[in-house]
Symmetry: C2
Subunit: 287 residues, 2 copies
């Protein structure tokens, strides 16, 4: 496992972590100030600044991307299906324009939440099939763009409204069926927040292997968690044994960025520089 003590070369900042404190351009400037070498920007933040301007700012700052957030929301009724696929092809284009190593997929939950206006459904297993079909139909486009798709299993508490792919096993089963030759065209984005509880996490990380480990995200699970969406913890403030999971991921040869992604009403209230400084300190000490 890489030694991160006193070294934040491998830190990437998911820009949602400081989304309330400033624009993407301000976040990019702050990263430069703190020698953070990589970011994972969100589409709405990029759209607010403009794609070309973002690409230029990233290049001028000498930044890399550790991913692009996000494609997905693939579940929809017939009327909204084309919209979902078109939207994902655009996300692939944007990821390519920004030089991202992968497009992170938050695959969508039940169609009425994934693509509002879709006919309501309670069929989670149908939604899961639909996600797989949609990824299958995007895969050629993604391959031509040389843009790996990274399925992010989301915590099961988000199954209804955000992602009906809830475990690493489930994500890898999809990868096996869609990319049996393990080309890496489709893999997983692992976020400790979503998967830390899983009794078979280490086995599944091994099963994924380097070829399918496209991204590694960190934050922490707080007890109690007071808000399901926006009460993630800073690394070290919760109960996740992050080094143990990172060890398993890096044992497979993963040598990419450790991406900090914290959705937190508390941390969004702090100054951007304080948040980034804290991320760096915690990376040294508890990640």
């Amino acid at each position: 496992m890489r030694n991160l003590v006193g070294d934040h070369r491998w830190l990437s900042l998911n820009t949602a972590t400081v989304r309330k404190q400033g624009s993407l351009l301000e976040i990019i400037e702050a990263c430069a100030r703190h020698s953070v070498r990589a970011i994972d920007p969100w589409r709405d933040q990029v759209a607010a600044v403009g794609l070309d301007r973002t690409a230029k700012a990233v290049k001028d700052a000498g930044l890399e991307l550790s991913g692009y957030c996000r494609g997905g929301m693939l579940t929809a009724d017939t009327e909204h299906r084309r919209e979902a696929l078109d939207d994902n092809r655009r996300a692939i284009d944007e990821a390519q324009a920004l030089g991202a190593p992968c497009l992170v997929l938050v695959v969508g939950g039940l169609p009425q939440y994934s693509r509002p206006g879709s006919t309501p459904s309670k069929d989670i297993w149908d939604a899961q099939r639909e996600v797989e079909d949609a990824i299958a139909s995007l895969l050629d486009y993604a391959r031509q763009a040389r843009m790996p798709l990274a399925i992010e299993p989301l915590h099961p508490m988000f199954a209804a409204d955000r992602a009906c792919v809830s475990t690493t096993r489930q994500a890898l089963d999809i990868c096996d069926r869609l990319d049996p030759e393990k080309s890496g065209a489709v893999g997983v984005a692992l976020d400790v927040y979503h998967v830390w509880w899983d009794f078979e996490l280490r086995e599944q990380i091994k099963r994924a292997g380097k070829k399918r480990l496209h991204a590694f995200h960190v934050c922490d699970w707080l007890v109690p968690t007071t808000d399901m969406l926006n009460d993630r913890g800073m690394m070290g403030d919760g109960v996740i044994d992050i080094p143990r999971i990172r060890d398993a991921v890096e044992a497979q040869g993963f040598a990419g960025y450790v991406e900090v992604e914290i959705f937190s009403n508390r941390w969004w209230e702090r100054p951007m520089d304080e948040v980034i400084r804290t991320c760096i300190e915690r990376l040294h000490s508890v990640v």
Copy 2:
């Protein structure tokens, strides 16, 4: 699948559903008023009334039990381990005295939450091993009392503080190791709230089979869920396809009670009779 339209013979009321509206004796009286034939009482409610008095009230009312809530909280540091096991043996005794068909186990999360005062730990995989060891060491006692143990996989959002057994697969793996002959001495309590999101739920229900399906609990998953512990929905108010899960369970030969267990700040504010009446109506129409 049994037809429940106009028939609530197979309804059981988990007494936590109306815990704020009255004592266990009052709940038992209400069940008699509404021709509810079974309950699943909680230990603290029984303790408040007294074990003998509860047993008599249950008998006088002609009630059956669909389970006894609950044993578990098996994770502890060395100093608290004996306390955890003693406590569970007492729970087995009480379940036997009340004529329960099984003791539901909420197995515990990290030891500091499961048995307060225990040395804090972040090792969820160690906690999982410990749960298995503890159940193994209780099994003889439970067999002698002819009290089946029902491991309840809890939603992964409770992994830290309530149960580090989070999926049906995980629970059944434990059953396979502890009771390879499938005697039924250890099985599962399935609550749709905890397991509805699982892509492999139906396969795992099949794997469990009648011998290991000890209890079946219903409520619903609300979107949004505003409180992780106490915002469960009344059946029909959320997104769970309950009949589909019940169908899978009954296809294995499960012929026991359909137990309603709703922890809800909203429903705790309604009169007991209204809650029970609503449970009955919903059992007819959406379960």
